[in-house]
């Protein structure tokens, strides 16, 4: 059940000028969180930014022994910039956990799954990697970014999944293979890799390519979609994505984790 509560900033870790991890008190949201859930965060109590911002709950862990929720953020506008500037102890209104998480209940330790992240799309996959490791389900990570700085939290992924299972791609070749993360996935599938399910989060071009890849490979998949949201709980109807059955699905309530076959990618705006 979603909770509306005020949670204090425990720590902010800046990776570079635009990327950071925001650690908040876990409150009663953290213990309820499953991989793929998200939360709405209010950046300050003023009127700018006016609306809350939606973020994947990247991890549920501890900061100096205090139960914490982690949000991995890329500063792209006034909301994401403001959230990175709050001092330790600042209370932040948080609504969560929200949405439909990744489908995991039918997985068993004999299954092998794939995790695909593009850029800041790593966020929901950190907690997923932690959960898979707890359940002893083996997973291959394919993670791409523009350059090495774009590829965050590698130590966590490698700790949860094992370093050999983590493969990277960058546009400039500064980390892993030079090229797109979707090429890594195609290469693995062509090489005979098979997965019970593929989980992905990233930018629209990555989703478009990956949707075709999983369809061609008849691979079961769940994509954590991103959309601008006003409310986050199915009321404003602002975040919708076009579906293959000709209607619009709320990314916040019916998603964010949806099978790519449900989405009409030709009508998704970019």
């Amino acid at each position: 059940m979603a909770v509306n509560e005020s949670l204090r900033v425990l720590r902010t870790v800046h990776y570079d000028a635009t990327h950071y991890s925001l650690f908040l008190q876990a409150g009663s949201i953290g213990p309820q969180t499953k991989p793929g859930h998200f939360a709405m965060l209010q950046a300050g109590d003023g009127l700018r930014p006016y609306l809350r911002r939606a973020f994947s709950i990247a991890d549920v862990s501890k900061v100096a022994g205090v139960p914490a929720m982690e949000f991995v953020v890329k500063a792209v506008g006034i909301g994401t910039e403001a959230l990175g500037r709050f001092a330790e102890g600042t209370p932040i209104p948080v609504l969560g956990p929200l949405g439909v998480p990744f489908p995991l209940d039918d997985l068993t330790p004999s299954d092998r799954v794939a995790l695909v992240a593009g850029g800041i799309g790593l966020a929901p996959l950190v907690l997923l990697a932690r959960e898979l490791s707890l359940r002893r389900i083996s997973a291959d990570l394919f993670y791409g970014g523009r350059n090495e700085k774009d590829v965050l939290k590698r130590a966590d992924f490698e700790r949860f999944l094992g370093p050999p299972r983590c493969r990277y791609a960058t546009d400039d070749g500064s980390l892993g293979r030079k090229g797109l993360v979707t090429d890594l996935v195609t290469q693995a599938l062509d090489g005979g890799a098979s997965y019970r399910r593929l989980f992905a989060c990233g930018p629209l071009p990555m989703f478009r390519t990956l949707a075709k890849t999983v369809e061609a490979a008849k691979l079961d998949a769940s994509f954590a979609l991103e959309s601008e949201m006003a409310c986050g709980f199915g009321v404003c109807l602002g975040c919708v994505a076009p579906t293959t059955d000709g209607r619009f699905a709320t990314v916040c309530k019916e998603g964010p984790c949806l099978p790519p076959s449900a989405i009409d990618w030709s009508r998704v705006h970019g």
Partner: protein, 314 residues
């Protein structure tokens, strides 16, 4: 001191003047995990049409300074699904339900209102004649007093329930559409709906929402809404009014009441904080107590204007 928060809008009696605005509160049930729905004065549900409506292609919303633009396109489950799937649960939870309805043409409005008829689980019907985000209908009625009057007259004949007309601010003189509504059988007026706006991504030079223009809501529009409530109150002193537009705090509620509203509807603030409407009920009781107000209804229409100068100085 106990404060009487109840308000009477003609035949519509509310336990308190805090209602929620259509389009910002879903069908109410989405908020049941955040607040007791029965605590609110009323809930105006997402605009209902005769058949389900899928709405506009995204992007549908964008944030603006102290507000947002939306062009959802009146996506809704349709009146049948509302009556069979939503209304029984709303009744069980003790909600006071205002059914907001819309159509493309007069006949569509009449059909959806006839379908609700005199359903006792519905406290009032609110006509949306002011949605700026659909190609047909909506605003065609909202800014034309003659067309609006004809529509209200036909709808009036289709239901015995209290009839609210939700007015558009996208007009030169809101008292003209207010009078046309009341002259043709509206019991209550609600105002304002959103103001038509446009926001542009200057890098792509594209509108930031798919429909090009959208409806502006949030604190940015509040002074416009308060002014229009005051104008309608002056023009039609006996007609009950729901004030709507950028309400975020108890001070804003009181401001609308002083301007002439009998009750208010909280809108976009529900997105930012789903618990705000219930909190405003408590805040209003405390505010009245602190200000020695025994009946909240006594605040309505108590604006003390200064005399306007009759000639220009200087």
């Amino acid at each position: 001191m106990s404060v009487d928060l109840s308000v009477r809008l003609g035949r519509l009696v509310l336990k308190n003047p805090i209602a929620t605005a259509s389009g910002t509160f879903g069908y109410g049930l989405e908020f049941a995990e955040f607040l007791p729905l029965g605590k609110l004065g009323g809930i105006s549900v997402k605009g209902l049409s005769l058949r389900p409506c899928f709405g506009n292609p995204p992007p549908r919303i964008c944030e603006t300074d102290a507000g947002m633009l939306n062009a959802i396109g009146l996506q809704n489950v349709g009146v049948e699904a509302f009556l069979s799937e939503k209304l029984p649960e709303l009744e069980r939870l003790g909600a006071t339900v205002i059914a907001n309805v819309w159509g493309d043409m007069e006949d569509d409005y009449v059909a959806v209102v006839e379908r609700i008829g005199g359903d006792r689980r519905v406290a009032a019907i609110e006509l949306n004649v002011s949605c700026p985000n659909v190609v047909k209908g909506g605003l065609i009625f909202g800014n034309n007093p003659t067309a609006l009057g004809a529509l209200v007259r036909r709808v009036r004949g289709a239901t015995p329930l209290p009839l609210i007309v939700k007015l558009s601010p996208n007009v030169t003189d809101i008292t003209a559409t207010a009078k046309a509504s009341v002259d043709n059988g509206a019991d209550i007026l609600s105002l304002i709906n959103t103001l038509v706006g446009l926001s542009i991504d200057i890098e792509t030079r594209q509108p930031r929402i798919g429909f090009t223009t959208g409806g502006l809501s949030g604190p940015a529009i509040r002074p416009v809404a308060v002014r229009m409530v005051w104008e309608v109150r002056k023009a039609l002193p006996k007609v009950p009014i729901f004030g709507i537009g950028g309400i975020e705090s108890v001070e804003h509620v009181v401001e609308f009441l002083i301007a002439g509203a009998d009750a208010v509807q909280v809108g976009t603030a529900n997105f930012r904080d789903p618990t705000i409407s219930a909190r405003l009920v408590d805040d209003l009781a405390r505010w009245c107590e602190a200000h020695g107000i025994r009946r909240v209804a006594d605040l309505t229409g108590t604006l003390k204007t200064r005399p306007r100068p009759e000639h220009r100085f200087g």
